[in-house]
């Protein structure tokens, strides 16, 4: 064979198809979005923790011994620790496989969950790696701050079907210490406090929208 083929050669295939086309995709879909979102300042956990959410103090009041034992005084330092830990549990238990963290501008999601997501709210250290999610068995969580009280969340994590009878969420009994005396309710441990705090934090930055007008209400005279 005199003619050395070019297109069907090892070097062409690995360099053009392998490195070249892959590089093009990285350029277009990784580097360019990165450049566009870079203008939005990246927020660290310490900056977020300057102002703890009210639910964090509520946890300290509601479970004083447990809170003191695992997190000490409720302040910015312990809040940052709780946020980081809550995020890690969210990943370890694969919460993100059944809950998303972005509200889309379609399918009435702004009415159901709240304000449509914007780039800046994902631009923080706790989104490394991002937790946008690709599946919803349970509802979206990015607007869950304050929707339920801490006691609701504690009961829900312990046994979801006690508060939502048709729920298919697993129970997370290992987020709780066994009760000191038989008959007492189990108290959330470090993980329980952290994950409740994390879920209550999600969306605490977004100013609330006016209550939505549901189609059923609008139809009424």
């Amino acid at each position: 064979m005199e003619q050395r083929p070019v297109i069907e050669r090892f070097a062409t295939v690995t360099l053009v198809a392998g490195v070249g086309f892959f590089g093009l995709s990285v350029l277009l879909f990784a580097w360019l979005p990165f450049q566009l979102t870079r203008q939005v300042p990246m927020v660290t956990v310490e900056e977020i923790a300057k102002q703890p959410i009210p639910e964090f103090y509520d946890l300290a009041r509601r479970y004083p011994e447990q809170f003191m034992k695992y997190f000490g005084e409720p302040n910015s330092e312990s809040y940052a620790r709780a946020l980081r830990m809550g995020r890690d549990i969210y990943i370890a238990e694969a919460c993100w496989h059944c809950h998303s963290q972005f509200v889309r501008p379609v399918s009435n999601e702004d009415i159901r969950f709240g304000r449509v997501s914007y780039a800046a709210e994902h631009q923080n250290e706790l989104q490394l790696p991002q937790l946008l999610g690709t599946r919803r068995v349970g509802p979206d969580l990015i607007r869950s701050a304050g929707k339920h009280g801490n006691d609701w969340h504690a009961a829900h994590f312990y046994e979801p079907r006690w508060v939502v009878p048709t729920s298919v969420m697993p129970s997370y009994k290992w987020f709780f210490d066994p009760p000191a005396k038989p008959g007492d309710p189990p108290q959330p441990n470090a993980r329980g406090l952290a994950i409740i705090n994390y879920v209550q934090w999600l969306g605490s930055w977004a100013e609330p929208l006016p209550p939505p007008i549901l189609p059923a209400q609008a139809a009424q005279p």
Partner: protein, 464 residues
């Protein structure tokens, strides 16, 4: 090329192929069980409730990772160790390296399984492999690439057969992709930019590792079993380059309507539709190859392969349709996507692997199948189970999407999904039943005494 007067056997390390298939099937069994147990959670009958290490969320990650890295990667590596030396006439780079990679893959898969169950997962879809395992994976991928590239490079003096294009590029892509997907979103890019990269990673793991190796194997096994060349080698050139160009550009379609810049979302639509046009050429090529050979479908491997090819066409047609911003309004986040993923990973690549194992197992063990009718039952149970699961999850997805849009209380979408989830579990049981028959048949075949003709000592063939 120096050729002796006598035909030379292929430089295949048969035992390695055998053990890769065994390992792959062991992880396949684990993945099936994990999927089955996870599906019971949706019916509120999870058997291990309250055990932290077997929490359904963690078992779900075990399911997907055991499928991707345990089942598919192991079986593909086994098949590559059969195909690459036969296509190139050269053995892989090093026999010792091959065995080292074999044990490294098993160690990595086991470490991943441990990490996932212990709660060390990384929040990268399809890349939940704990961060401390990731560097080893990268090294392993590079070694795999070297091991297979050496024979391909040696054979590259002549125009390479289409399978070898796919194989030589798959490991380049996967190494780059793995580094990009596992490290950049973890350390550098949060939020929208991170999602764009994770989208690329999810998509490229299927598109640039599993798909090229899968098609490369089809381009080899289909002509060899039919004893008829592929319809057109030139058309396969279009298929290959089209895939290489369009596939990496689609990742963002996993996050439509998110905060990722819209130009990226629109571009992803364009390339997703573009690749389906290319896939048509591959499909036509294979259909034209088998044309006029209807009797070939009596051979089980061919039946597996072509069922997989038809399923591939279905998923791709579905892909062009579902990756539109309009359809995404309804079906995103629903079970539709889950159905799509199952058809791709099991209905296409799983079927191809099962066809390959059905073909090679007697040749690897030197024994005929213990009971061929079990294999036929295996095929029908798997196909029926897969189809039921696919249709069921698609329907569930549409229902969920419209219920969410209708602003009905969230719980209503759960109540409405339960019958579909029950059917999903039932169809999964059908698939599992088929695999049990197959595993039993594999075991009985390998454990049977060697046929009489083979037992006499074989003298070395005379070479000049």
């Amino acid at each position: 090329m120096s050729e002796s007067q006598y035909p030379q056997p292929a430089p295949v390390e048969t035992r390695l192929v055998f053990w890769y298939f065994v390992a792959g099937m062991v992880y396949f069994a684990i993945a099936l069980l994990a999927g089955f147990f996870f599906s019971l959670q949706f019916l509120n009958h999870y058997p291990f409730a309250g055990i932290e290490w077997l929490s359904p969320g963690r078992v779900r990650m075990l399911h997907t990772n055991a499928v991707a890295y345990g089942f598919i990667l192991n079986c593909f590596l086994g098949a590559l160790h059969w195909v690459v030396p036969r296509l190139t006439r050269y053995p892989v780079a090093s026999r010792g390296l091959s065995w080292f990679i074999f044990w490294a893959v098993q160690a990595i898969v086991l470490a991943t399984a441990f990490g996932l169950l212990a709660g060390h997962a990384q929040a990268i879809e399809w890349g939940e492999t704990p961060l401390y395992v990731d560097p080893f994976v990268v090294v392993g991928l590079i070694l795999m690439g070297i091991n297979f590239s050496v024979p391909i490079f040696k054979a590259s003096r002549k125009p390479l057969y289409v399978s070898l294009w796919y194989f030589s590029v798959a490991f380049v892509w996967t190494t780059l992709n793995y580094v990009m997907g596992n490290f950049i979103p973890q350390f550098f890019t949060p939020g929208a930019a991170g999602a764009a990269i994770v989208g690329l990673f999810i998509h490229d793991l299927v598109g640039l590792l599993v798909t090229p190796i899968g098609w490369g194997l089809m381009y080899y096994f289909v002509p060899v079993i039919l004893k008829k060349p592929i319809w057109s080698h030139a058309v396969s050139l279009i298929g290959f380059w089209g895939l290489a160009f369009f596939y990496p550009l689609q990742g963002v379609h996993h996050f439509f309507w998110s905060t990722i810049p819209m130009f990226a979302q629109y571009s992803a639509v364009v390339s997703t539709i573009g690749v389906e046009v290319v896939v048509m050429t591959v499909f036509v090529n294979f259909v034209a190859t088998v044309r006029g050979r209807g009797e070939a479908f009596k051979q089980l491997p061919i039946r597996w392969f072509y069922t997989g090819i038809v399923f591939y066409m279905i998923t791709c047609a579905q892909c062009a349709y579902q990756a539109l911003l309009t359809t995404q309004k309804i079906i995103h986040f629903t079970d539709w996507v889950v159905g799509h993923a199952h058809l791709v990973m099991f209905g296409v690549f799983g079927f191809w692997i099962l066809g390959i194992v059905t073909e090679l197992w007697p040749r690897l063990t030197g024994r005929p199948w213990h009971n061929p009718s079990l294999n036929t039952a295996h095929y029908w149970l798997s196909t029926a189970g897969m189809l039921i699961m696919f249709v069921d999850l698609l329907a569930a997805g549409v229902l969920q999407g419209y219920l969410w849009q209708s602003l009905a209380p969230w719980e209503q979408s759960l109540v409405a999904s339960v019958p579909f989830w029950a059917w999903r579990t039932a169809s999964g049981l059908m698939i599992i039943a088929g695999q049990v028959l197959f595993f039993y048949n594999m075991w009985r075949t390998a454990a049977a005494p060697l046929p009489a003709a083979e037992t006499k000592p074989v003298p070395e063939p005379v070479t000049v």
